[in-house]
Subunit: 383 residues, 2 copies
């Protein structure tokens, strides 16, 4: 039976695994003796090895960015609308690589992994990994794949931060950075939301100091709350109203705490389904990594100085209704790049979908990405 | 020893208590055989009894709006900057009344009260009380105090909703409604935040279906989370950044989950101190009451129709940086009042303090309130 996938799909993909036996010295001071990264690739590396694109995932993402894991898979990867043959990141032209981040919970080494020193899962003993650490770990993935320089590194939100960090840490190994719905550092409000999310997880009676695996439980209420809160902030006030309204289920109040408004059932559903697929310790780690991100910290807060020696061309994208990573935050990046006389394009996309826009098929957004990627010169056509 | 209070203070005040033995039929269908309201008053009722002002509190407020409870009290009531001799709501001229709402936890009948039918605290059996119910209960307080009509009813946030409802339900008993930082109904986003807060409380291992009193515990983590989340939304992104910044405590990451950013310790402090003074069941009730508020519901969603038979003059106030109850929500009220040909003044106050502004001494805001109250005619001067 021939599988029937939507047109322009990369089809069935199989996750791959890289084992790195070289120690990695993390920013926190801990050195991991080695690590594994699970990743997927789409398209083919060309003979000149100059068509490779690194996709960096955000807080709750993973390596499964495009295609399907099986012929009867219901849902494709998280960025399938953007990556594939004929899509904005065109796999007929580019060789796309998407790893699960170190510290993640989708197969790469992280809190769920067994600590060889104890024979138990790392859990809370897994060190906090930073954006800079991720970039190092991804550079080794590039080495293993024989990629000297990425044609482009792209990502939204936390993924965009990684793209930006790449240009700072490996200026000669990245030609284009596409920084979408990101910021050069979190606002206080963002840190505050992260703190509430972490507090929800850590105060859950089932958290057990992060060693919940050993108790056969998960801090599901805390993780659910974190996700519910996240979802509110990923969408704009307007789109919440347009999508869910505030009509009462029975047209009048039921005078209780069961679901009465559609938004309540949406959030509960999002929360419970997230708990089934995500690990709470990874959520803690990822949010802390977000908090810490600030490439200007070592330069007296001067971002322009931090990017002074970068060599990539930049595309910065923001979304008009994104209040979690607002256009103003993107413009801070753009201003710093201009101050440093870097080559930067910037576009603010009109969209009502808030921060979520970066994952959606917003026509103007995809048009901009498509055009930008078409303009990236390659020395050879992919076979 | 003569107490030394700041100038323009109402000084030491003593809460009073009203016992109502007449049953109150609540909107939810439950009838309470009677109830008690604890309240405070400031200033004196004049001979014509036309100088009474009702102050309605918001989600976490109480009856202690102004003055001190003892000579060595450190902190005055929650709206002390606004109420007192020579202050915007001038107690030399007005007789100010502020009750704790029915269902509250500061002394009025609510979940903390003993249910005569069981001899135990009501807890989750206390019925959900609506804004309309509060207005009825406050009208009886007016009866008991010999007040036929309020010179004004005012409040911010949920308090503003009560002022608006007063004009609809008792058009002849209110001459002025001052509706501050409010909305004619919550947005979907607001309901969503409330849902997360309720979920935090209800999923706390110490909640016990709301009967936590009987277990000698309180759902402190859940209530703390609810409050932390609330505080984020009461302040603007800009003011959070200006007030707390994002500097790390030690200048560099500590790579852990202890407090590293100032905003984290602020939120934790706000959360823990709230748990000491507030009851979780009341928090649930108040947020649900907020969700339900919608005076247009009985008029096919047409607010102009709901206010068509009101007779009060209105002052509507919003704050530029308030994103929890944005100026747009205030303008919806103003538009409906204008459509209904009502007498309304509206001012959007430039303030960076977000929703919290309504509690703060923002100069232009207090100037507007002062001027408005000075313009309320009284038939006699207070003795």
């Amino acid at each position: 039976m021939t599988p029937v996938f939507p047109a322009h799909s990369v089809g069935v993909v199989t996750p791959q695994r890289l084992r790195v036996d070289e120690p990695i010295a993390l920013e926190c001071g801990v050195s991991l003796p080695g690590y594994e990264l699970v990743y997927e690739t789409y398209g083919q590396l060309n003979a000149a090895r100059d068509n490779a694109v690194l996709v960096c995932h955000a807080l709750s993402g993973d390596h499964h960015a495009a295609g399907y894991h099986a012929e009867d898979d219901k849902r494709p990867g998280w960025w399938d609308n953007c990556i594939g043959p004929g899509k904005p990141v065109d796999t007929e032209r580019f060789f796309v690589v998407c790893p699960n981040n170190l510290g993640g919970c989708a197969g790469s080494t992280g809190p769920l992994s067994v600590n060889p020193a104890t024979g138990k899962r790392f859990g809370p003993d897994f060190p906090i990994v930073t954006v800079r650490d991720w970039v190092v770990s991804q550079a080794r993935l590039a080495d293993a794949l024989g990629i000297d320089a990425w044609a482009a590194v792209l990502g939204g939100s936390l993924g965009g931060m990684q793209a930006l960090q790449w240009t700072v840490d490996f200026p000669t190994r990245i030609r284009h950075a596409i920084v979408i719905a990101a910021a050069s550092k979190l606002s206080t409000q963002n840190i505050a939301f992260n703190e509430v999310a972490r507090h929800a997880i850590r105060s859950d009676a089932n958290f057990h100091g992060g060693r919940y695996y050993e108790h056969g439980v998960v801090p599901e209420h805390g993780l659910m709350l974190a996700r519910m809160l996240g979802h509110i902030t990923y969408l704009s006030d307007d789109v919440l109203m347009a999508r869910f309204g505030r009509e009462l289920r029975d047209g009048k109040p039921g005078f209780g705490y069961d679901v009465e408004f559609q938004i309540e059932s949406y959030l509960r559903h999002q929360g419970t389904s997230f708990v089934k697929r995500f690990d709470a310790n990874t959520y803690l780690l990822m949010t802390r990594s977000l908090d810490y991100f600030d490439p200007a910290r070592d330069h007296d807060g001067r971002l322009a100085q931090a990017v002074a020696r970068t060599r990539a061309k930049y595309l910065v994208v923001s979304f008009s209704s994104d209040w979690r990573f607002s256009p103003a935050r993107s413009r801070e990046i753009v201003r710093a790049l201009l101050d440093a006389d870097r080559d930067v394009s910037y576009v603010d996309i009109e969209s009502e979908q808030g921060h979520d826009s970066f994952l959606l098929e917003v026509p103007m957004y995809h048009h901009v990405l498509r055009t930008y990627f078409q303009g990236i010169p390659l020395s050879a056509i992919t076979p």
